[in-house]
C-alpha cells in the first residue's frame, strides 16, 4: 500500500514538473543579464542613476517603441524568438572586492549570460577579471579608466570614451578657448582622487599637458572620502595655476566646490571629470556650481541637433520623474550593444556573443550620443568612435559648450570671482 502511494506521488510530481517545463518552453524565454552597480554606499545616488539608465534601455528593447534605437521597434530579441531581457542587479557598495564576488555570484548562481556596469573603474577592473576567468562577455558603458581596455581581455568591451580621450579633449578645449578669447593660459594644476579612475586621469593629463605645452604647477591627489580638503585647496592656492583640472567622484566634488568658495580660489577656469556632472551635485551646491566645465558624453540640450535625445529624455522623465543625466545616458548604451550582438549571433552562448560584438557596427543616428557610431577595436575592444564633449554649468544647468562648432551655447570665460557673484 505504502509503495503504491509513493509511486503515485512520484508520477504526479514528475507530471507537474514536466508540465511546468513545457509551459515555460512555449513562452519566449528570458535572457538574464547581470548588472553590477554601487546601489548602496558612498555613491549610491550615482548607482541608482545608472540603474535607471540600464532599466529604461531594457524596457525599450523588450517593448515596442517608435524610436530609431536598435531593436526598439520589435518586442524582445527577434532572432531569439522574441526573448526578453531581464536585468539582475547586484550591489557592489562601491568596493572592488564586492565587484568581483558579486559578478561571480551573478554568473555562477543567477546564470546570467553577460555583465554590464560597475561605474567605478576600480570596481569594473575586478569585476571584469571575474568575467574573463569565467568566460562571460562584459559590455561596459560607464567606466572611463583607460587601462580597462589596455589589458587585452577577450571578453571585455567598452562603448564609452575613456579618460585619455577626455583628457586630450580638455587640453584641446584650452587651446581653442585661448584662441577664441585671446587670454593666454600658461599653467595647469592637476587635482585627482587617488583610486584607479582619478590617478589615471592625473597620469594622462600630465602627459597631455606636456604635449600641449602647459606647465603643471601642482599635482595633488587625495582620498575621495575625505572629510576636509582645506589643505588640498591651500596647496592649489599656493601654486597659483591658470587652470584647475579636477577628476573627482561626487562627495569630493561637493566638498571641493564649497572649499573653493570658502577659501576664494579663483583660477581662470576649472575643468573637471565625472563628479561634477552627477545628478546629486547641482541640487547640493546650486549656484556655486556655475561656470565649472565638465567632460561629458551626453547632454539634453544636444536634442536640438538630434531629436532622438529629446525623445529618450522624455521617456526617462516620464518613468522616473527626473531629467536623464549623463550617468544614466552612459549606462543606457550597454544593453543595446548586447541585445544587438545576441540578435545577430542568434545565440546566448559566450563565444557567439563575443564574436558578434567584434562585428558590432551601430550607426550614429541610432544612439543618443554625439558619436559617429559604435565599432570595437579588434584588439583593445574600445569603441573607436567614442568621443567626448564639454558642458559648462550656466544658471544651474548643464549646457554643451565644446566643440565650439557643434555646441548650442557659448562658453563663459574666464571663471568669474566668487566674491561679488549674485
Amino acid at each position: 500500500m505504502r509503495t503504491k502511494w509513493v509511486s503515485i506521488m512520484c508520477v504526479s510530481l514528475f507530471a507537474v514538473l514536466f508540465l511546468t517545463v513545457s509551459v515555460f518552453a512555449q513562452q519566449p524565454k528570458t535572457i538574464k543579464i547581470g548588472a553590477v552597480y554601487p546601489l548602496t554606499g558612498n555613491i549610491a545616488s550615482t548607482g541608482l542613476d545608472c540603474r535607471r539608465g540600464a532599466e529604461l534601455a531594457v524596457d525599450i528593447i523588450n517593448g515596442k517603441y517608435n524610436l530609431s534605437l536598435p531593436l526598439a521597434k520589435t518586442e524582445g530579441i527577434p532572432n531569439l524568438g522574441g526573448a526578453k531581457l531581464e536585468l539582475v542587479f547586484a550591489d557592489t557598495k562601491g568596493e572592488p572586492k564586492n565587484g568581483m564576488s558579486e559578478t561571480e555570484r551573478l554568473i555562477t548562481q543567477e546564470k546570467v549570460v553577460a555583465i554590464i556596469g560597475a561605474y567605478q573603474s576600480s570596481v569594473t577592473k575586478t569585476a571584469s577579471q571575474a568575467t574573463e576567468r569565467l568566460k562571460i562577455p562584459y559590455v561596459c558603458s560607464d567606466s572611463s579608466s583607460p587601462t580597462l581596455t589596455e589589458r587585452g581581455f577577450k571578453y571585455f568591451f567598452r562603448v564609452s570614451p575613456h579618460d585619455a580621450i577626455f583628457a586630450k579633449d580638455q587640453f584641446q578645449f584650452l587651446k581653442d578657448v585661448e584662441k577664441k578669447t585671446g587670454k593666454k593660459i600658461n599653467s595647469v594644476a592637476l587635482l585627482y582622487e587617488n583610486t584607479e579612475f582619478g590617478s589615471n586621469v592625473g597620469k594622462y593629463a600630465a602627459q597631455y599637458a606636456k604635449e600641449f605645452g602647459y606647465k603643471v604647477v601642482a599635482d595633488v591627489s587625495y582620498p575621495a572620502n575625505a572629510t576636509d580638503v582645506t589643505s588640498e585647496v591651500g596647496t592649489l592656492i599656493k601654486a597659483k595655476p591658470d587652470i584647475l583640472m579636477h577628476a573627482s567622484y561626487i562627495t569630493d566634488a561637493i566638498l571641493f566646490t564649497k572649499t573653493f568658495k570658502e577659501l576664494n580660489f579663483t583660477p581662470m577656469g576649472i575643468t573637471t571629470f565625472a563628479g561634477y556632472i552627477e545628478p546629486g551635485y547641482l541640487p547640493a551646491v546650486k549656484a556655486d556650481g556655475n561656470y565649472i566645465v565638465i567632460r561629458s558624453t551626453f547632454a539634453l540640450d544636444l536634442a536640438k541637433k538630434k531629436p532622438l535625445i529629446g525623445q529618450v529624455g522624455e521617456l526617462f522623465k516620464k518613468k522616473y520623474g527626473v531629467e536623464m543625466s549623463e550617468n544614466a545616458a552612459r549606462s543606457f548604451a550597454a544593453p543595446f550593444v548586447l541585445a544587438d550582438a545576441m540578435n545577430r549571433a542568434k545565440s546566448t552562448k559566450s563565444e557567439d556573443i563575443v564574436k558578434a560584438l567584434l562585428t558590432t557596427d551601430i550607426p550614429g543616428d541610432q544612439m543618443i550620443y554625439p558619436w559617429k557610431g559604435i565599432k570595437f577595436d579588434p584588439k583593445s575592444h574600445q569603441n573607436i568612435y567614442a568621443t567626448g564633449t564639454l558642458v559648462q554649468i550656466q544658471n544651474e544647468k548643464y549646457v554643451t559648450v565644446w566643440p565650439f562648432d557643434a555646441a548650442p551655447a557659448e562658453v563663459i570665460w574666464p571663471f568669474p570671482p566668487w566674491r561679488g557673484r549674485k
Binding site: 548602496t40 591627489s221 572620502n225 572629510t227 589643505s231 592656492i237 551635485y281
Partner: protein
C-alpha cells in the same frame, strides 16, 4: 607663505573642534560600558538629517534645531540601549561588538530607504560666508560650530566633575563593581551615558549640517575618524578626546600642506600608531 600657514592652522583647528565634539559622545559610551558603538557615525547622520528636515519642512535654522536634535538623539540612544544593547551586555564580547554594528547597518539603510541616497545641503543657513582677517579666510559656520564644540565639551566636563550623577558616571567608568557596591545604579548610569553619548553627537550633527553635505552614509567617514580620536585621546577620557580631536585636525591639514595631501590620513594614523606604541592607553587614558 605665513598667510597660507596661518590659514592651514585655522582650518585644522576648525575641523579639529568638530572631530572633538563627535568623539566626546563616543568616548563616553566606550568609557562607561566598554562597548564600541559602531552606530555612532549613524547617530551623527540622524542628527544631521533631523536638522535638515526641520529646516526644509518648518524653516527652522539648524542653530535653533540643536535642542530638538539633542533631545531626539537622547531618546533614541536611550531606547536603543534599553531594547537592544542592554540585552547583550551580559552576553559574550562578540555579541556586544556585533550588536551596534547591526544597529549601524539598520539605521543607514533605513535612511537610504526613507530619504534616498541623495546629497543634501541646507540651502540658506543663517550662518554662511567667511570673515577675511588680514588674508586668512575664516568660515563663519565652522567658527560658530567650533565655539559650540568648546562650550559643549566644557559643559560635559563640568557635568562629570561637579554633579552627583556625573561623578557616578565617572565612578562606573573607573570600576563598575566598586560603583555597584557604593550603591550606584549602574544600569541607570549605562542608559544615561548611552543617551548622553547619542545626544552629544546629535549636537555635532546639527552644527555639522550648517556647512557639510548630508547623506545616509555620511556617518562612515566621520565615525572612523572619531574612533581614531577616541583611541588617541584615551578610552573614556573627555579631555583626551577633545585634545586628540584638535590634534588630528591640525595634523591632517598641516601634514597635507607640508608634505603631500595624499599622505594626510597616513600621517594622522601614523601618529596614532606611535602614540599607541608608546602609550597604549592613549594620551590621557588611564
Amino acid at each position: 607663505m605665513p598667510e597660507q600657514l596661518m590659514q592651514q592652522i585655522v582650518n585644522g583647528l576648525l575641523i579639529g573642534f568638530m572631530y572633538a565634539l563627535i568623539a566626546i559622545g563616543l568616548t563616553l559610551i566606550w568609557g562607561v560600558m566598554n562597548i564600541v558603538n559602531f552606530a555612532h557615525g549613524d547617530f551623527l547622520m540622524v542628527g544631521m538629517f533631523t536638522s535638515f528636515w526641520l529646516y526644509t519642512l518648518y524653516g527652522l535654522d539648524p542653530l535653533f534645531s540643536i535642542p530638538i536634535c539633542t533631545l531626539l538623539l537622547f531618546v533614541m540612544g536611550l531606547l536603543i540601549y534599553r531594547f537592544i544593547v542592554s540585552k547583550v551586555m551580559a552576553g559574550p564580547m562578540l555579541a556586544q561588538l556585533v550588536v551596534t554594528f547591526g544597529v549601524s547597518i539598520f539605521i543607514s539603510n533605513l535612511a537610504v530607504y526613507w530619504w534616498s541616497p541623495d546629497f543634501r545641503l541646507i540651502a540658506k543657513p543663517l550662518l554662511s560666508g567667511t570673515w577675511d582677517i588680514s588674508g586668512v579666510q575664516l568660515s563663519i559656520p565652522k567658527t560658530v560650530a567650533s565655539i559650540g564644540s568648546i562650550v559643549t565639551s566644557l559643559f560635559v566636563f563640568l557635568f562629570l566633575k561637579k554633579t552627583k550623577t556625573g561623578k557616578a558616571i565617572l565612578a562606573t567608568e573607573m570600576d563598575r563593581e566598586a560603583a555597584l557596591l557604593m550603591g550606584i545604579n549602574t544600569e541607570r548610569i549605562n542608559s544615561l551615558s548611552f543617551g548622553m553619548g547619542a545626544a552629544l553627537v546629535g549636537i555635532a550633527g546639527a552644527f555639522l549640517s550648517t556647512y557639510y553635505y548630508i547623506y545616509p552614509q555620511v556617518g562612515g567617514v566621520f565615525g572612523t575618524i572619531a574612533f581614531c580620536v577616541v583611541a588617541l585621546g584615551g578610552f573614556g577620557s573627555i579631555s583626551g578626546a577633545f585634545i586628540a580631536g584638535i590634534l588630528v585636525g591640525l595634523v591632517q591639514t598641516l601634514g597635507g600642506f607640508f608634505f603631500d595631501p595624499s599622505y594626510k590620513y597616513a600621517i594622522v594614523f601614523m601618529i596614532y600608531l606611535i602614540t599607541v606604541w608608546i602609550r597604549p592607553q592613549g594620551l590621557l587614558g588611564w
